[in-house]
């Protein structure tokens, strides 16, 4: 009984998988001892995490002066990394929520890993606003808690405060989304496990029995959370962009920032998902679940968002010229031809020029090319944030105060440390839960399995 699926749609699950095959393929990695390849990656990840932990400790003990920020450039790698990680954390929720609402079936192959990635990326991102504070021990001042100081409130006009709310909300909703999605799969693992493992998975499976009522409620919850998360995808980076747009610094003070930031975030998020998925796919042998079709779909999104970002860059240039305001003009002239010109052109090439290759179907479906480009885009997006923060601050209104900035080893270590954190978390995740949503893949088997649809479909099904 094949579902009414257009014959030109490519199948999303290859290899004539049965339901049992899917369970075996996706759940078994959590049940075996870690392979050597996993250990080889895990050790450097933990090493990086330790380095980062030391660098954070040193920052807190000695002071922000361990970084090379100065009286003119008060934000550097810290906020650049923050915005970068937040951007990366965009793809997960976009894939889970918006694509769910749009009923894009190809999302099932990648949504679990993308959501996990979102959560870990937001954790990495959240680190930076914390440690960039001069007095982290007073960080609670940022929350509007009742107090006896007469009463002393936070400044609701400040974009930094909006950030606190936006990011914490986004993190909470993303976590819920991810976890509710995991529940049926955890139950599957529970059912196959024995002993202590069984007990642990029983606890986290929340008593899931797979009854029709459970499934009904589960689907409703997914829809409700998707509805909640969809505006968040747009709002988080909008608000992050307000961190700059509400400032008066030429180069920051622009109304184009919210859409430009959101597009950039989706862009970088998809690139990061691709980077990760292409590795996972290879290492865990999931080529039949994460197919070339998946990769192509993602590349199309990258092409679209990359082009939006390109339009935004060019609009910025036009507006600065059209404004007739010399500080604005100077800021953009300096971006392109000033001391940090290489980061501007790095950004332009990586973010605007390179995605244009995806107009070619052949390249879209080329795994190696996609992998290289996804990394290039991540570098480009890092440059974008550095251009906005570093270059802009280095040359602002008063030439007397112009300065230059390059990071110390502490700043670099913290950045590397966030990679350590990210990969440590992701690797542990890949050992304890299925990296592809088992239940959701099973949902689409009859509409996406190659025995049912596509050229290889077996007659009689």
């Amino acid at each position: 009984m094949s579902a009414p699926v257009s014959s030109i749609r490519e199948p999303l699950i290859l290899g004539h998988k049965t339901y049992h095959d899917i369970t075996e393929d996706l759940v078994s990695p959590t049940e075996k001892a870690p392979p050597l390849s996993w250990i080889m990656v895990f050790i450097p990840a933990v090493a990086l995490l330790s380095l980062g932990t030391f660098a954070v400790y040193w920052t807190i003990y000695v002071g922000i002066g361990t970084w090379n920020l100065n009286r003119t450039i008060n934000w550097g790698w810290d906020i650049t990394n923050f915005v970068w990680w937040i951007g990366i954390g965009h793809a997960g929720t976009l894939i889970s929520a918006i694509l769910l609402l749009f009923r894009q079936k190809w999302r099932t192959g990648v949504n679990r890993a993308a959501e996990a990635m979102t959560i870990f990326a937001v954790m990495c991102a959240g680190l930076f606003p914390m440690i960039h504070m001069g007095r982290i021990w007073n960080a609670m001042f940022i929350f509007p808690y009742p107090n006896t100081r007469g009463s002393l409130w936070v400044n609701f006009n400040s974009a930094l405060l909006w950030d606190v709310f936006a990011i914490s909300t986004y993190f909470t909703v993303s976590l819920l989304f991810w976890y509710t999605g995991l529940v049926p799969d955890l139950a599957t693992i529970r059912d196959r496990a024995k002993g202590l493992r069984k007990k642990i998975y029983s606890f986290f499976a929340l008593g899931w029995t797979g009854s029709a009522k459970h499934w009904q409620r589960w689907e409703y919850l997914a829809l409700v959370l998707a509805g909640l998360a969809t505006p968040l995808v747009l709002s988080v980076h909008t608000i992050v962009s307000f961190d700059f747009a509400t400032g008066i610094v030429p180069g920051w003070h622009t109304t184009i920032f919210p859409p430009y930031f959101v597009a950039g975030a989706v862009f970088s998020g998809f690139a990061m998902v691709l980077t990760l998925m292409l590795i996972v796919r290879k290492v865990l042998h999931l080529e039949q679940y994460i197919t070339i079709a998946h990769i192509e779909s993602m590349n199309k999104v990258i092409l679209a968002t990359g082009s939006i970002v390109g339009v935004a860059y060019i609009t910025e240039l036009f507006i600065s010229w059209y404004s007739g305001y010399i500080y604005e003009q100077a800021a953009f002239f300096n971006r392109a031809f000033g001391v940090y010109w290489w980061s501007y052109f790095g950004m332009m090439f990586a973010n605007v020029v390179s995605p244009q290759f995806f107009w070619s179907r052949k390249l879209r479906r080329n795994v190696t090319f996609t992998f290289m480009l996804s990394i290039l885009i991540n570098i480009g997006m890092w440059f974008e944030r550095f251009v906005i923060i570093g270059t802009t601050l280095a040359r602002d209104f008063l030439p007397s105060s112009w300065s230059y900035y390059s990071p110390t080893w502490i700043e670099i270590s913290i950045y590397l440390g966030t990679f350590g954190l990210f990969f440590t978390m992701f690797l542990i995740f890949a050992r304890v839960a299925p990296v592809v949503a088992v239940a959701e893949v099973k949902h689409i088997l009859k509409t996406g399995g190659d025995q049912y649809v596509g050229e290889d479909a077996v007659k009689g099904h």
Binding site: I64, H132, M133, F141, S158, G247, V339, D396
Partner: protein
């Protein structure tokens, strides 16, 4: 707790039935514990309603919390109250004493602010007719010198290589026996008449004694030339306030030359624009090779190599002589532009006969005599150059030192007393001096700190600081000034005068303050030779209170008698090759101030570098799009600088206005023994100075400057970009082009793709408005138009002011007249002293972590090789629509009802968004624990990276951890913790004090109630502060001028500080 449950309201029933509840409802705080008084009345001993269990809970928590708290290692800082309160000291109320600042020949009449018996701030004394209430950076920083840890703290005697303790009694005994044979007292200029009397008494006891006077930076040639020209070995009273044309040959009279505070005050009298219609200014022409502070204020500069100064003076002299029928002299020929320009100078001087002034800072007798004659021919003697109130601020003659070296070398000197002089560092013949000194049997230092000379002495008889001493000064004829102690001696020190008296004529042991008595008697002898009982006492008390006393001297008339022809033969001769000028900076002098961290951290106003001396190298333009850097050296590269066989490695800094073919290097750095702060900072050049006719010359010819040999990794430069669109000629078209903007793009784009900066990139910035006096009217109109446009733009915004909020009460504002600002930097140090601004050290300044709340931005404009300069003091502009305020997530920076942008340090969490968003970049972040105020131990930075912490002994390494240093802190201002932002507060603590004073006296606030530290320190009154709502205030009078503008007005931040358009009187006739 438990009992409080009684009055919980549960339901309607309670309200109706329970009487007790109804009663209690009106008395909400029923359970507040009774006061001690109530308890006594009730005869109760228990604490209100607390029962046993509650008590135990509280006790348990209390003990637990205390245990936890005790476990944390929080350093204990002791505050010890008075056991018996001194009568004059009211805690929290400052006491002011009039006194005098005297360092060698540097003089300033001061008022010292003390709090709880500690001097914490120095202000100018407005009653003085010499310094007029102005101060300099050095004067402001002197209070910190009192708390210098490199001070000599007790008498010592050298045993072997080390100094051992000795009591004063033993020291006195030991030294007294050694003074009978040939003794020399080596000192810098002595301004004190009573000290001179002490010398006389000393000599009367020991007739074989001679006093040798020299100055760290010599002006001996002026004294000698004046003796030859006019028969007066004095420095005349230069009346800059009467001169319409001022020509200065290398004299840095606004910065360091003789009496800069006085000269600055007088100079600006003719620099102020009083009306637009009849705008008038003096014309100031500076003839020099490097950009001095004075040269940067000049209208026109004529570039002359240091060795060609003689030829230039002769040329000018002959031009003047030609026109005034004076005797012309033969001399060196002068070629090129300088010649043409000096002809114009001559014309201008002749046009202002009697109202012009030529001064010369060269230490060359012939040149000084010729300058005297020029002034004489111009009829300036008696008008702008007057000997009636001649200055005594330079008395040194280094030829005496040369004689001393000879005497010592031949064994004719047995004992040398160094009286607060450091010749082993600052005397140019110090190598020979050191060799000769070894032959002297007894060397005694009556010095203040363990300096390069003290370490070579046998006995150290440490002197007290001037703030711990009695004394007097006569800086000019007829001007007297008293010095009084403002604190008892902190260490076991004794003022030099007293030591000399004890060793010679002896003092009456029964008198408590023998030198005070001596001083008083001497004054009585000077002023009251006829015995007027009672009269002296009143006079003394009044003078002590005022600090200064003036009695008009009889007028002195002089006539020129010297031989100009022989003078012309003695001028400096042009040399070969590269030339270097050495000069004194406003901050460290010739090393006398090198131990003071405030002055070390203060950037040199012209090259904007701190913590060291840097070789200033010329910068040119290739006529296309590249600046031509000398030897392709970038700022901070080090070079080998070679002259006469001596090699020095020094970092370079490209400086606009530096003549091609010359370099310049400040004096005063590289002292070997200058404590934690000044030791080995920079390069010492005193040992390579040459002399002519026995006088030290501050230039050398035949200098070799190598290619880059390294990089000063901690090169401390606070300003990277220096120009607002300087212009140069295009090499192809010959047209004037904006060199600065053409050179702006990164070299990759410029050289490979030919990208040029766009017009207006720098020139059209709304930061500084400037005009030539000739075009003043048009430029004022233009400014008016621009401000109208800014206003229009601002009206389009959502935020339209809310000015009515500030219409009531006070609304603080400031006006800064950039035409009066000479860039001397006194205000920057005053600000550091008043507001406890931390010192961060060389490495941190290199990283642009300087904490200065007030800085002086310096921009060059006009012709690239010979530009004009504008100094712009920049501090928090206290914007009424402050961009920093709305971005702070925790409201740590907010606005007061009086228009002040306030920082709440306790609330700040250090996100630094405010600093990013500040268009003026005046917010400062405490990057590291500069003040030892955070909870972590041992994380304080040292002044220099990698400096051994042990250098400070028991101190952990940060200078702020030194308890002696901390005595200078102003108790009215919070010391900020690491991780918080700080910035100018408009001296809010002083505003509060002023408001309270007015309130106590039940009157309206006056201008003089509220004076900010920067305003008070300014020698030229460039800064005016006040209440914008007070229509009578000086501030509002100044704000009426159409020359006013607001920096970045179009951003609608609504700054409360406005500036005056910079006007110069540059003549376009001069060729550059």
């Amino acid at each position: 707790m438990k009992n409080n449950n009684n009055n919980l309201w549960i339901g309607k029933k309670d309200l109706r039935v329970n009487k007790e509840f109804v009663e209690n409802a009106a008395n909400e705080f029923k359970d507040v514990p009774p006061t001690a008084q109530e308890m006594a009345e009730n005869g109760s001993t228990s604490l209100g309603t607390t029962n046993r269990r509650d008590f135990l809970k509280v006790l348990g928590f209390g003990v637990g919390a205390a245990t936890l708290a005790a476990g944390c290692d929080i350093p204990v800082k002791k505050a010890i109250p008075y056991v018996v309160k001194p009568e004059q000291i009211v805690p929290g109320v400052p006491t002011y004493y009039a006194s005098s600042y005297v360092r060698g020949g540097d003089y300033c009449a001061i008022v010292v602010k003390t709090r709880e018996g500690r001097p914490i701030k120095i202000e100018g004394n407005k009653l003085s007719k010499v310094t007029f209430g102005g101060t300099s950076a050095r004067v402001q920083a002197e209070v910190l010198n009192l708390y210098n840890n490199n001070r000599l703290k007790s008498p010592k005697v050298k045993k072997g290589d080390k100094f051992a303790d000795i009591s004063w009694k033993d020291l006195d005994k030991a030294i007294s026996t050694k003074l009978t044979s040939n003794t020399r007292i080596v000192t810098n200029t002595v301004l004190s008449p009573t000290k001179k009397k002490v010398f006389e008494d000393f000599i009367s006891k020991y007739p074989n004694t001679k006093v040798i006077t020299y100055d760290p930076v010599s002006s001996a040639a002026i004294l000698i030339a004046n003796e030859k020209s006019f028969g007066k070995k004095e420095i005349p009273d230069y009346k800059f306030d009467k001169a319409d044309v001022i020509v200065s040959f290398n004299a840095d009279f606004l910065g360091t030359w003789i009496s800069p505070i006085e000269y600055s005050k007088k100079y600006v009298q003719k620099r102020k624009i009083k009306s637009i219609e009849n705008a008038k200014m003096s014309r100031h022409i500076q003839v020099e090779s490097f950009m001095s502070l004075t040269g940067s204020n000049a209208d026109n500069r004529i570039m002359v190599k240091p060795s060609e100064q003689g030829a230039a003076i002769i040329y000018l002299y002959n031009e003047i002589a030609k026109a005034t029928e004076g005797q012309s002299v033969n001399g060196l020929a002068l070629e090129g532009k300088a010649k043409e320009n000096l002809s114009i100078v001559a014309k201008e001087l002749l046009g202002a006969k009697g109202n012009s002034l030529v001064v010369c800072g060269n230490n060359n007798i012939g040149e000084q005599i010729l300058v005297n004659k020029i002034n004489d021919l111009l009829g300036n003697i008696g008008s702008t150059v007057d000997f009636t109130e001649a200055s005594y601020q330079r008395q040194g003659d280094e030829r005496e030192m040369a004689q001393l070296v000879k005497d010592m070398a031949s064994g004719r000197v047995d004992t040398v007393l160094f009286l607060d002089a450091n010749p082993l560092y600052d005397y140019s013949g110090k190598k020979k001096f050191k060799e000769a000194l070894a032959k002297v049997k007894t060397k005694v230092s009556l010095g203040y700190s363990l300096d390069d000379t003290a370490v070579a002495c046998d006995y150290l008889a440490p002197v007290s600081h001037s703030l711990e001493s009695w004394g007097d000064a006569m800086p000019k004829r007829g001007h007297y000034s008293l010095m009084q102690p403002t604190i008892s001696t902190i260490f076991d020190t004794r003022q030099a005068e007293l030591s000399l008296l004890k060793w010679s004529v002896g003092v009456d042991a029964s008198v408590e303050q023998p030198y005070y008595q001596y001083l008083k008697n001497n004054w009585k002898n000077i002023f009251f030779s006829e015995d007027e009982i009672g009269g002296f006492r009143a006079f003394w008390d009044k003078t002590l209170k005022d600090g200064v006393y003036y009695s008009a001297p009889e007028s002195v008339e002089v006539s020129f008698v010297a031989d100009v022809a022989s003078a012309a033969a003695g001028v400096s001769k042009p040399g070969e090759g590269f030339e270097v000028s050495f000069y004194e900076t406003v901050n460290v002098g010739n090393g006398q101030f090198a131990e003071n961290p405030w002055l070390q951290e203060m950037p040199n106003p012209v090259d904007r570098t701190a913590w060291g001396n840097h070789l200033q190298i010329p910068i040119g333009f290739d006529g296309d799009k590249n600046f031509v850097l000398f030897n392709n050296l970038e700022d901070g590269d080090t070079v080998e600088f070679e002259v006469g066989g001596a090699k020095k490695e020094v970092a370079v800094v490209s400086t606009f206005g530096q003549m091609q073919g010359t370099v310049a290097l400040p004096l005063g750095y590289g002292r070997k023994y200058a404590g934690l702060v000044g030791s080995n900072v920079g390069v010492d050049v005193n040992d390579i100075l040459a002399d002519k006719d026995g006088l030290t010359q501050y230039y050398l010819t035949g200098v070799k400057v190598s290619e880059k040999v390294g990089v000063d990794k901690d090169f401390a430069h606070v300003q990277y970009h220096h120009t607002l669109g300087v212009t140069a000629k295009d090499k192809e078209t010959g047209e004037t082009k904006n060199a600065d903007e053409a050179a702006f793009p990164d070299s990759f784009w410029k050289d490979v793709f030919g990208v040029e900066g766009f017009q207006g990139f720098l020139t059209d910035r709304t930061i500084v408005f400037k005009s030539n006096i000739e075009e003043l009217k048009e430029n004022v109109e233009e400014l008016k138009e621009k401000r109208k446009e800014f206003k229009h733009l601002n009206e389009q915004q959502i935020y339209n002011g809310y000015d009515d909020v500030y219409a009531l009460g006070h609304h603080w504002g400031m006006q800064i007249d950039t035409n009066l600002c000479t860039g001397c930097g006194a205000c920057t140090i005053a600000c550091m002293a008043e507001n406890n601004v931390p010192i961060v050290g060389k490495h941190e300044v290199h990283r642009h972590h300087e904490m200065s709340w007030l800085r002086i931005d310096r921009y060059f404009y006009g012709e690239l090789e010979n530009p004009n300069t504008v100094y712009q003091p920049m501090m928090c502009q206290q914007c009424d629509n402050a961009p920093c305020e709305n971005v702070c997530p925790v409201n740590a920076t907010n606005h007061s009802s009086e228009g002040l942008n306030q920082m709440v340090y306790n609330r700040c969490i250090g996100t630094r968004y405010c600093a990013n968003n500040c268009p003026y970049k005046v917010r400062r972040f405490n990057w590291l624990d500069y003040t030892t105020a955070d909870i972590f131990n041992d994380n304080e930075p040292t002044l220099f990276e990698g400096q051994e912490m042990a250098t400070l002994g028991d101190v952990s390494g940060a200078i702020s951890d030194d308890p002696l240093f901390r005595m200078v802190l102003n108790p009215d201002v919070t010391v900020r913790q690491r991780g918080v932002i700080e910035k100018c507060s408009f001296c809010v603590q002083k505003l509060q004090e002023g408001k309270l004073n007015a309130k106590k006296e039940q009157r309206k606030l006056r201008d003089d109630d509220v004076v900010t530290a920067c305003q008070a320190s300014c020698p030229t009154e460039a800064i005016v502060f006040g209440d914008m709502n007070d229509k009578e205030s000086e501030l509002n009078k100044r704000k009426e001028s159409p020359l006013n503008f607001i920096v970045l007005e179009e951003t609608n931040v609504r700054s409360s500080v406005c500036y005056t358009m910079k006007v110069n009187n540059r003549s376009e006739e001069y060729k550059s």
